[in-house]
Symmetry: C2
Subunit: 342 residues, 2 copies
DNA sequence: GTGAAAGCGCTAACAG
DNA sequence: CTGTTAGCGCTTTCAC
């Protein structure tokens, strides 16, 4: 049995309240008593029972995180950074995965609420365009990340995905590519925004949009490589195939690269390819992959800071933190002049 | 305010005890009462307050998981599978990362104990050879995974790493390689075991061991690519460089591949390389990487089953679950005859 | 079959 | 400054 407040109080001949106050740094207590208690507390390496504290205070010092899929390096990285900061503030992280299934997501939300998390951090797998009544009336403060909802006013931490799409596409334009395609997603806000950025870049540089070069698919988040592969095959089968492609994410780009090479084309000379996410292995791929970096680590830390501030004052004003993306050029879209070192 | 047992009891004019018993399926209660209560419970979508239940029962229906680094796909995958099974059994997963730092690990262990997890699942970053008094006397059931301790009798779930090393090395032997090197780790049991497997394969096939081909380094778990790169450079600088290398893990192998290609050698013709872990991107690397598959998903599920059984009967007999590894041949160690399709 | 009483370990509010 | 009282929501024990 672990040691309890009461035990220490008895030993020292004071009340449990006194010990409790010392424990929490309440200034009520006199210097001498405080010293005595503190000494005992440390000597015995006392740890408060969080369940009891939670029951008494209504707070659990726990944060819930729901990601669509921990296998995606982005979510793993985010979780790692979030957890790291929370640890330093003595908060625990309850992790759940929705497997990109809205049903499971709903179930996990309930489970985490039931456990009384102080804040819920969520990258929802619900369709961006569907109504979200459940999410808007949660009995716990919510922080959305990566994926947001148009009609919903909520705390958010994520990337400027329109900017990311525009950045990637402009880069391809600057390479002097004439037929720039896009393989994109349909259901999440990052997917839609990156596509919007693609379109915007084309429009702003006075290009007309050719719909044959715009390939949108569902479930690109989960099976990017397969889908990227087949979409690219489709593009290559066009009478005038594109000479550059901006892919929704890095896995999609990997699939596109495979299809391109298999068709016997040279990358980047005949086909420039860029992904998004800048995942850890981009340097080591068959063709090192250009990508858009989202600074996932900072995203996680920013979410942690927001989460902590909300945990302390749950009725704070709704905040939106949006990080600027950054272009990382590698072999897959290297300009002819540029020598890329691995 | 969420709804409480007491609310339902009052509404129905029964005692909280009755409701509580119905909730937990206690057979005490009569059919009619039970039906009435059940109906109300569902209608209101009642969820017990876990903090209160935890305080009353001493159980939290929560499992703690500590991994060295969530960025390593192995640990992310394991966490995903473990969490998935636990979810189906209404257990929550408290996730912590030790960042490969024994100090942080100790801190996290304390934090999770304090939160009253029912079982602690741990891939420890402590040196396999150091004594582990803290771990042996935990006030909570422990399941080690991936990394074990020689002198410690504890529940364990992991791979047969000696077998993995032997499998990889035998494969290189069967390729008819004459100078087979190994880049391995020093501190964890998988590292030592894989090295042991390498040595065993050489011995069993009557080869003598050349220590110049055995390169062991610390911290290979965290910075495999860098360290693999420099170790390989060292091997290539030998008067008679190896013609094959078994690398501790896939990241290390990636580094070794880079160094090999940079030196102008052909893979696999002049240098066969094999890693371990069979991570998700092995197919897409510059040279598709042969590897040893550990069936991480099954590892996670097995750990979940063990964890659940321990949660139900904490004093059960100590168990060790060891999965057989599987060889996956790709381009980096393809026999001349074999055509490997991507 | 059902419920009253007691308590899990802690904290909030107030009285001294 | 310190301690008493009451209670967080649930379960357990044991009468009825």
């Amino acid at each position: 049995m672990p040691i309890r407040l009461k035990d220490i109080a008895q030993e020292l001949g004071v009340s449990t309240v006194t010990v409790s106050k010392v424990l929490r740094g309440n200034p009520d207590i006199g210097v001498k008593t405080r010293a005595r208690v503190l000494e005992r507390l440390n000597a015995l390496n006392y740890r408060p029972n969080m369940a009891a504290r939670g029951l008494a205070t209504g707070k659990t010092f726990t944060v819930g995180l729901i990601v669509p899929d921990l296998l995606q390096p982005f979510f793993a990285h985010f979780a790692k950074e979030l957890g790291g900061v929370l640890r330093q503030h003595d908060r625990a992280l309850l992790l759940a995965s929705s497997e990109e299934d809205p049903k499971i997501e709903a179930q996990e939300i309930l489970a985490l609420i039931q456990r009384g998390v102080d804040v819920l951090v969520l990258a929802s797998c619900r369709d961006e365009l569907l109504p979200v009544p459940e999410l808007s009336a949660l009995p716990v403060p919510l922080v959305l990340f990566d994926r947001r909802f148009k009609r919903m006013k909520a705390n958010f931490v994520g990337s400027d995905d329109v900017g990311a799409g525009e950045l990637a596409t402009r880069h391809l334009i600057e390479l002097n590519r004439k037929r720039i395609a896009h393989i994109g997603g349909l259901q999440t806000s990052p997917a839609r925004d990156r596509t919007a950025g693609y379109l915007r870049a084309l429009e702003r540089t006075g290009r007309k949009i050719d719909e044959r070069y715009l390939v949108l698919r569902k479930r690109l988040e989960e099976r990017g490589d397969d889908i990227g592969f087949s979409c690219m095959q489709g593009l290559l089968a066009l009478r005038r195939p594109p000479d550059a492609v901006f892919c929704y994410n890095d896995m999609t780009a990997i699939g596109a690269i495979q299809a391109t090479l298999q068709a016997g084309l040279k990358i980047p000379r005949e086909m420039a390819i860029i992904g998004c996410g800048n995942f850890r292995y981009a340097d080591y791929l068959q063709v090192p992959l250009s990508s858009i970096d989202q600074d996932t680590a900072e995203l996680g830390r920013a979410a942690a800071r927001l989460t902590l501030s909300i945990a302390d004052s749950p009725q704070a004003r709704v905040q939106s933190i949006v990080l600027k993306p950054r272009l990382v050029i590698r072999q897959s879209s290297a300009p002819p002049s540029l020598k890329i070192s691995r």
